[in-house]
């Protein structure tokens, strides 16, 4: 351990400055790479390795309950996936869910952000109360909303009956359309706060002076919103939208807990389809093909996101 001072230049020596500086920089950059390496390696092991494994698996017939029969099948799994009407059905439902949930969550999140951006008495309470649902695990929130819509002990049924509204005695989870209501409400409950926070952060970067000069020019509140707030908020909006679109595309916990894809197949989504192929059919080759398809779709969205961030000059510059 006594040898330590010899490694790298010590700051006190009087060696010629430029050379020292260069080797000092080189050693610092070496240390820098060493510092970054473990995190990058860990992420690569957990994400990139499975991705490669999936690509290999997807070209094979590998069913866990038929050991010893594994073999190369080329594109057969992909062919089967692309000709399976259930795959397309699930993909379509996933798309519809993405559009509806993201639209609603974005609209609600924007309103929420605008509200919390104002100064008012209950502001702290609102901020805390929306953050709690965000922190609850998705599966728990799905369970909670499932019970909320339970026909006996649930609140929804009770309220509809008490107010003599239509829809009392309705079995929400037995309707191919209405089963989506609790699913989307639960998803909104959990995810709107996140959008609101992103938008709020965006709102706070808009300088007040712009609004003041607009007011002097005679702009109404709405005009200011359309011509100042929204354009300046655009980057935050894009980030929030893509973030949410992506996680909506991968929705699984909520569906698994609330409906298991039912009634029939009417709430089945593509992540559930993949999970089923892997863990119920134990058909790992086929599951891998679906996983590759999902990964490609997700990465396309993610690339767009990273591009946007870079263009905007976020912390990465």
């Amino acid at each position: 351990m006594a040898a330590k001072p010899q490694i790298g230049p010590s700051l006190g020596t009087a060696s010629p400055r430029p050379r020292r500086r260069r080797s000092y920089m080189a050693s610092r950059s070496r240390v820098g790479y060493l510092l970054v390496l473990p995190a990058v390696a860990a992420l690569a092991a957990i994400a990139i390795y499975p991705l490669i494994y999936n690509i290999v698996l997807s070209s094979r017939f590998d069913v866990l309950t038929e050991p010893g029969t594994g073999h190369f099948t080329g594109l057969a799994n992909y062919r089967q996936m692309l000709t399976d009407p259930n795959f397309w059905g699930d993909l379509g439902r996933t798309g519809i869910f993405m559009v509806i949930s993201v639209t609603l969550e974005f609209a609600a999140g924007l309103i929420l952000a605008l509200i919390v951006h104002r100064e008012f008495k209950a502001r702290g309470l609102v901020r805390a109360s929306i953050l709690i649902p965000w922190a609850i695990p998705t599966a728990v929130s799905a369970l909670l909303w499932k019970m909320f819509f339970d026909i006996r002990s649930g609140f929804v049924d009770f309220a509809l009956k008490a107010l003599h509204l239509p829809g009392a005695n309705l079995v929400w989870f037995n309707s191919p359309v209405l089963a989506w209501v609790p699913i989307i409400l639960s998803d909104m409950w959990k995810n709107t706060p996140f959008i609101a926070l992103l938008l709020l952060a965006g709102l706070q970067t808009i300088p007040q002076e712009i609004y003041e000069s607009a007011r002097i020019d005679g702009a109404t509140g709405w005009q200011a919103f359309w011509s100042i707030t929204l354009p300046l908020l655009r980057p935050a909006v894009m980030v929030a939208l893509i973030f949410r679109t992506l996680s909506a595309m991968l929705v699984f916990d909520t569906i698994f807990v609330m409906t298991g894809g039912g009634p029939g197949q009417s709430t089945e989504v593509v992540a559930y389809y993949d999970w089923y192929k892997y863990m119920v059919s134990l058909n790992f080759g086929f599951g891998a093909a679906v996983a590759v398809a999902i990964t490609v779709l997700a990465l396309i969205l993610a690339t767009v996101y990273v591009r946007l961030l870079r263009q905007r000059g976020g912390f990465m510059t």
Binding site: L11, R28, S29, G32, L35, V36, A39, V40, A42, L43, I46, A47, P50, L51, N54, L57, I115, F120, A122, V126, R127, A128, S129, L131, A135, P137, A139, V140, W145, D150, R152, S153, D157, K161, W189, F194, L197, A201, G202, T205, P235, L250, F252, A271, D274, W275, Y278, A291, I294, T295, A298, L299, A302, T303, Y305, V306, R310, F315, M316, T317
Partner: protein, 275 residues
């Protein structure tokens, strides 16, 4: 007049938001103290009809709910610890050291956090099976890094970049070694950022359901969300216990949020929106 209407509308909106966010919690709590008989009847009141704590007793005495609570804490805690250590190292390197390829590295970390969890389930299952890791803590701790490490690294990189480098340079000029500079000068300033990153990493790991569902099959190893979903077994659906379990599972989260609200908010936005 118009302004007053505006204010009423605003207040109504605020009330709706608070109700939508918090009322489901009240309902779960109310149901958790109802008897099983009352739960199986048509609900007749906004208040508990006859208070009972049998469901709380049952989830601890019969279902051993303490075990999943400890499991979740341990697994999420370990994943957070590893994430914070690796994330701090990486963030220090990215924000302080003259390395090339900063943007691609950060881009990679960001991209990885978008990797579909579902696509990792199959390969990881096969790998863990091979290693005899299924039903172990490590089968969750390692995959959870994918949930917590990217956000920890972002937050810390953003945070470290804001700490002026002069402070460390001054310390080094005074003859401190790199290690001394980091532990004595840098770390105390960086602590709040590290703490913020840790909370978020913890919450994101705590949130997981899919990995636990796929890699854990023995009840002893269940995490909280998995245990709650498994309260229904072959013949019974224990509504009261599910309600009580949801309350128990939500309480610590709610407390964390109430006490650390500011940090969570800043952490959540640090990575994606500069601010």
């Amino acid at each position: 007049m118009r302004q007053r209407m505006g204010r009423t509308g605003f207040n109504a909106l605020v009330a709706i938001i608070i109700l939508y966010s918090l009322f489901p919690f009240y309902w779960v709590f109310k149901s958790s103290v109802e008897s099983s008989i009352a739960l199986n009847r048509q609900t007749s009141s906004l208040w508990p009809t006859n208070w009972t704590f049998v469901h709380y007793e049952a989830i601890f005495a019969v279902e051993n709910f303490l075990r999943p609570l400890l499991n979740s804490m341990f697994v999420a805690g370990m994943a957070t610890l590893i994430s914070v250590v690796l994330g701090s190292m990486a963030a220090y390197g990215l924000s302080r050291m003259p390395i090339k390829g900063k943007v691609p590295i950060l881009g990679f970390i960001l991209l990885v956090s978008f990797f579909p969890q579902i696509a990792m389930v199959g390969p990881l299952f096969l790998v863990f099976r091979h290693l005899h890791w299924l039903n172990t803590y490590q089968s969750l701790i390692f995959p959870y890094l994918i949930l917590s490490l990217p956000i920890t690294t972002w937050i810390l990189t953003a945070f470290f970049s804001q700490i002026p480098a002069d402070i460390e340079e001054a310390a080094m000029m005074d003859g401190a070694t790199i290690t001394q500079t980091i532990t004595r000068v840098f770390a105390p300033i960086a602590m709040p950022g590290i703490f913020t990153a840790a909370i978020l990493g913890f919450l994101l790991s705590w949130n997981d359901f899919l990995f636990a569902l796929s890699f854990i099959q023995t009840p002893n190893m269940d995490t909280v969300p998995l245990a709650l979903v498994n309260f229904r077994n072959a013949y019974y659906v224990h509504y009261g216990q599910i309600y009580a379990g949801v309350v128990i599972a939500s309480l610590p989260i709610a407390l964390i949020v109430l006490f650390l609200q500011k940090r969570i908010e800043s952490g959540l936005t640090a990575g994606s929106v500069k601010g």
